[in-house]
Symmetry: C2
Subunit: 159 residues, 2 copies
DNA sequence: TATTGTTATACTCTATAACTATA
DNA sequence: TATAGTTATAGAGTATAACAATA
């Protein structure tokens, strides 16, 4: 149990925060932006974005997966998924083979080039994750993971 | 100490996740998107976005504040701050009075209309926060807060 | 009618580059 | 030279509306 005081007030002591720093959503948002922005820069050279890597990751693990399934997993709309898929296809990392069982649906497959990029990106992501949680003990790490997941799943359930 | 298993696998059991669900950044990101998207919809009627409310909040607590100070607090670039400020001024929620001491700088002040919107938005944000953490015990709440803050401050320090 | 994918469009948040005015 | 603000532009991620093709 740590009692040290951790606040954003220390960063800009000249500002009166008036309770804004009590808003958990603000900290989750700014922390997220910080990580994502850094990760984007690290992935830039291999022509993928963080979200594109996540899509690539699932396509590799689930050959022939449908866009609808990805939409459900990430809880984003189908046209949003399609935008990532289109970029990945344009760069030759993914191909879309129409299903023979249901000709409405397409099946997504990763290409050789896509696998190469995914492998490299996974290394960068692992490093990024390690750096992100380096300040936490292993118990704190698993607690943060558990609490974020709990909050997310509870919110996702509500619709 | 809870031992129940909380995973995203349960949401889409048909998908093989291959370790993607071990990536903490993914969960922070999707949780954030979920909250922000909801909050945006709730604030839509009063013509402000979540980030605009945060700016309004600090301007009210720090009358005459400079855009540079807001930039430092949020760790975003000056032109990004300016975009929010411009929207808020266009809607009559903020005014920009040039400083007499340093004529490069402007001082931001909230308007009466801005105060009305801020008050209403704070109620919505408080409700949103409560809903977000309703699934957590009070100890879990403060732990999540502490851990996010710790990770954020550690990452922010590194530059 | 319902589902899958697609296209077009728009909005939020963020960044970089280049500029003006002032210190 | 350095700082405050501004303008223009771009890119990532998200959404809604409307459509075609298929079931």
């Amino acid at each position: 149990m740590t009692t040290e005081l951790l606040t954003r007030q220390a960063i800009t002591p000249e500002l009166v925060l008036d309770g804004l720093d009590d808003v958990l959503g603000l900290h989750i948002g700014t922390a997220n932006t910080l990580f994502v922005t850094r990760l984007e820069r690290q992935l830039e050279a291999m022509k993928v974005t963080p979200k594109q890597v996540a899509i690539l990751w699932l396509v590799k693990a689930n050959p022939g997966v449908k866009q609808t399934d990805l939409s459900r997993f990430f809880k984003i709309e189908r046209p949003t998924v399609h935008q990532f898929v289109r970029s990945l296809m344009r760069n030759g990392f993914l191909i879309n083979e129409p299903s023979k069982l249901d000709r409405r649906a397409g099946g997504l497959w990763i290409t050789g080039e896509g696998e190469t990029v995914l492998s490299a990106a996974r290394v960068i992501i692992a490093e990024s994750e390690a750096a992100l949680t380096a300040c936490l003990s292993s118990h704190e790490k698993s607690e943060l993971y558990r609490l974020i997941m709990k909050v997310y799943l509870s919110a996702a359930q509500k619709g």
